[in-house]
């Protein structure tokens, strides 16, 4: 009986104009969006390669101690899967004076948006009349009178609705993947195939939720007109309102200090205040212990070099002065860095708490869960950015250790070697970004997956409860 019901449901949907429209829309939209975003990804990827070479050449040519950290920045390679899931917009766009405002105002269509907005709406439109339509036509009464168990009826409608919805959607997705693999030459290795498969599975669950929602609205309405309005209201709340409101609500519930104030305060501590303290301590050192070296800050570099070469006593005294001066610089940098770090840490903790609350609020809607899951799997979300930031910080430390070691060895060889002199940094460590493994991504995305499964079960179960109470008379 269940099999017949499922087949009937699939058949009814497939011969419907809605099915033809949805199939065509899914295929065209997914392929077009993948093609556009893949072209954008290629451009970003080319730009990334050029930047890496340009930075390497620049450091080789202009490497020196004083601006060593300003010279080298870890760069993140664009993520291949952003052709499907755009995810987070880069902040650097907002914080450069020369930047493109279009990206901030005008959203772009990706596969995630197609699933989240379009496929879910189509799912509601596929199913809103599945129970109320039978009720209006009088066939529900006949089926129940013929002894069809109510659970079987709902199960048949649910499976039939889901299969008929997932079919055109899957065809569209596979066409998009085919374009990426065959048209754009993306290599289909194990991890890539796993990401493609997981994105499809997550999208299936999400679309099934809205098939269930349509069924639930249909089973609680006496007419299809009522059912469609209820379904659309539910869709608007779950897809358009709840996830979008969550970050704003969280910002008001958990307030954090101003990022700009934090930036200004740390900047002041590590520059103006640091320079003042450094100057005071260095002047104290010079007047108390190195008065014999003369007015060092106002001597020309070439004069010092001449004196170092000509006078062995001056050479020794200058080397001792340089060591002490470097020690003062190091101590002041550490002290001021720790002071600024405490402010930044407090801000980071408060911001993380706000972000956690926003995530929790957004997770109450399947659209929020899907966004987090897809960006997690595709490596374009918050966690991928955190992972990148950790790797970039590790690289910064390794690079800085290398620079310091090189500088010390140059100073040992040439006591007059200063922080603005050219430093050969050719053997420096190079940054290479390794995205999280697919296992880690799946493991971290598991709670979201469970939330989606919960929603998949919730709506058909509610529909079953509602139909159980239905009085055939």
């Amino acid at each position: 009986m269940l099999r017949e019901l499922v087949l009937k449901e699939i058949h009814d949907n497939m011969v419907n104009l809605r099915f033809v429209l949805a199939s065509a829309a899914c295929i065209v939209l997914i392929v077009v969006s993948v093609a556009i975003l893949e072209a954008a990804y290629r451009a970003l990827e080319r730009d990334y390669r050029v930047r890496v070479v340009q930075q390497d050449e620049f450091i080789d040519r202009y490497g020196h101690m004083n601006r060593a950290q300003w010279l080298a920045r870890a760069m993140r390679e664009p993520e291949l899967f952003q052709s499907l899931v755009l995810g987070l917009r880069s902040d650097s766009d907002d914080n450069n004076f020369i930047s493109n405002p279009a990206a901030a105002l005008l959203p772009r269509l990706d596969f995630a948006t197609i699933v989240m907005v379009i496929a879910s709406l189509v799912a509601v439109l596929f199913t809103y009349s599945s129970v109320s339509g039978e009720r209006e036509a009088g066939t529900l009464r006949l089926m129940l009178a013929a002894g069809l168990p109510r659970g079987t009826f709902i199960l048949g409608k649910t499976i039939g609705g889901m299969v008929s919805m997932l079919l055109p959607f899957t065809i569209g997705y596979l066409a998009g993947i085919l374009y990426l693999v065959a048209g754009a030459g993306v290599p289909l290795d194990g991890p890539t195939a796993a990401v493609f498969g997981l994105i499809l599975a997550a999208s299936w669950l999400y679309v099934s939720i809205f098939t269930g929602l349509g069924l639930f609205c249909s089973s609680t309405s006496s007419t299809s007109a009522q059912a469609v309005l209820k379904g659309l209201l539910g869709w608007v709340l779950l897809v358009l309102v709840m996830p979008n409101v969550s970050p704003f609500l969280a910002a008001q519930l958990k307030s954090v200090p101003s990022a700009a104030w934090v930036e200004q305060a740390t900047e002041r501590i590590t520059s103006e205040e640091r320079d003042r303290i450094l100057e005071d301590r260095a002047t104290g050192m010079r007047t108390s212990r190195y008065a014999d070296l003369g007015d060092l800050p106002h001597l020309r570099k070439s004069d010092i070099e001449q004196k170092v070469a000509a006078d062995p006593v001056f050479r020794e005294r200058y080397a001792s002065y340089s060591r002490e001066y470097e020690e003062i610089v190091r101590t002041v940098n550490v002290e001021q860095g720790e002071k600024a770090g405490r402010i930044t840490d407090e801000f980071r903790k408060a911001s993380e708490a706000q972000e956690r609350l926003a995530t929790l609020l957004a997770s109450l809607s399947p659209a929020g869960d899907l966004t987090f899951l897809l960006t997690r799997i595709a490596g374009t979300g918050i966690e991928a950015e955190n992972h990148w930031a950790r790797m970039a910080a590790e690289y910064d430390n390794a690079y800085w250790s290398f620079v310091e070691a090189r500088y010390k060895s140059e100073q040992a060889a040439h006591p007059a070697f200063g922080s603005n002199d050219h430093l050969d940094l050719r053997g420096r460590p190079r940054f290479s970004y390794r995205p999280e493994g697919i296992g880690e991504r799946l493991q971290a995305g598991l709670p979201r997956l469970c939330a989606l499964v919960f929603f998949v079960v919730l709506f058909p179960a509610a529909a079953l409860l509602s139909i159980r109470r239905y009085d055939v008379r």
Partner: protein, 417 residues
């Protein structure tokens, strides 16, 4: 026509559909107002922390625009702190938060409600205006009663249009009234005038989608088909075309990535500093500072001059592509009308560059007189209309007339037999 319009209104005023649409609009407006007002207050408070205390300060920061409660647009970007030095312009984040979820989800402001929800409600209120009557057989009776077809069509349109916009207008005016009562909004002529412009644009946009719903209803024979077609049209016009436009423009007219521009600016500054140090090793300390400043200035201007035409090209193409949908035209129109759009950001940045150039000798330490104050007036309506506003209004009008005229033409050929 008037009697048909009245009939349409009275028949639907007590329906489940109208109650649902009214409830949805009321809830959304209230949520949007609370959320966006809270966000505006946070930005206002933040501005209080960030604004330069000294009127001659080299830093530039704009106060948040009260209209951003209605259309947030790029206002958080416009409110960033621009730190001007002889080495160029540094942008500091003035946001209250670094919560990254803001860039994952859309802003639930009035623009979102108008663009997405008002269009949906217009279609929901009109999709069965004619095909519903066809199904019930009452259309035949109506036509047999001798009424002129264009009058019937116009009456249907006006009736459904009033039903669509009345919940929106009531909740919108309630929002504006509530905002006007708040002391931190300062609802003067500028604020109320632009609120009126937003309302007019929303009414025009609702008219476009009501006309589209009626057109689909005149083509379809069954309400179910009409609903499916209406939803497809909504998805196409509200999501697909406006969201595909920027992507196509980005692929067709590429602009250097912000990271690339940042790197090049940084490298040119470092190069100028290092070369100055090298020269001063020979010529003596303090002899080459001005040359370095000039080099950095020239490099920054060169970057700006080569970047700006490419950016303008991309934005123009995105604008042209998005105008193939009324939602695209409305996005630009609303953002520009509330001074939170792309044109406003480019205008502000031009003003900041001009301010830097005018005060450059002061930043470089050559001129010791106080800095000139930074005065910025947001674009007036005349300027907005002369730029792209008129074109966007024409696009909306063309969509409306096209849908209405085509629908009327089809309906006049309808054979009731």
């Amino acid at each position: 026509m008037i009697s048909i319009m009245k009939k349409e209104i009275l028949e639907h005023l007590t329906t489940y559909r109208f109650a649902l649409v009214t409830g949805l609009m009321g809830i959304l407006m209230a949520v949007s107002l609370l959320v966006c007002l809270g966000d505006y207050r946070i930005r206002l408070e933040n501005y209080g922390v960030m604004q330069p205390r000294d009127p001659g300060s080299p830093d530039v920061v704009l106060p948040p625009n009260p209209l951003s409660v209605l259309v947030q647009g790029l206002d958080p970007r416009l409110g960033k702190v621009y730190e001007l030095t002889s080495r160029g312009i540094t942008v500091h984040s003035s946001e209250r938060t670094i919560n990254r979820l803001f860039s994952l989800f859309a802003v639930p402001d009035q623009m979102f409600i108008i663009k997405v929800v008002l269009a949906l409600t217009a279609l929901l209120m009109s999709f069965d205006a004619l095909c519903g009557e066809k199904e019930q057989g009452t259309l035949k009776l109506l036509l047999a009663s001798g009424g002129h077809r264009s009058d019937i069509y116009a009456g249907k349109f006006l009736g459904r249009y009033v039903l669509t916009v009345s919940p929106f207008v009531i909740s919108y005016l309630a929002c504006v009234f509530a905002l006007g009562m708040l002391p931190d909004i300062q609802a003067g002529g500028y604020f109320l005038g632009r609120c009126a412009v937003v309302l007019l644009v929303a009414l025009a946009y609702a008219a476009v989608f009501t006309a589209l719903g009626l057109l689909i209803s005149s083509v379809a024979h069954a309400s179910e088909t009409s609903l499916a077609l209406s939803m497809s049209a909504w998805v196409l016009l509200v999501f697909v075309i406006p969201e595909a436009g920027p992507g196509i423009a980005q692929a067709a007219r590429s602009v250097p990535a912000a990271d690339r521009v940042e790197m090049e600016t940084r490298q040119q500054t470092i190069r100028a500093i290092v070369e100055r140090i090298e020269r001063e090793k020979v010529n003596g300390y303090g002899t080459d500072g001005m040359r370095m400043v000039d080099e950095i200035r020239e490099a920054n201007s060169h970057l700006m001059e080569s970047y700006r035409p490419k950016l303008n090209d991309q934005i123009t193409l995105a604008d042209v592509l998005m105008r193939w949908s009324p939602a695209g035209a409305v996005t630009f129109l609303l953002a520009d009308a509330t001074n939170t759009g792309i044109a406003e950001e480019l205008r502000l940045k031009d003003a900041v560059v001009l301010h830097l150039n005018r005060n450059f000798n002061r930043f470089a330490g050559i001129d010791r007189t106080p800095f000139e104050g930074f005065h910025y007036e947001r674009a007036g309506l005349g300027e907005i209309m002369s730029r792209t506003g008129t074109v966007n209004v024409i696009v909306l009008t063309a969509f409306f007339l096209g849908f209405l005229g085509f629908g009327m033409g089809l309906f006049s050929r309808y054979d009731p037999r």
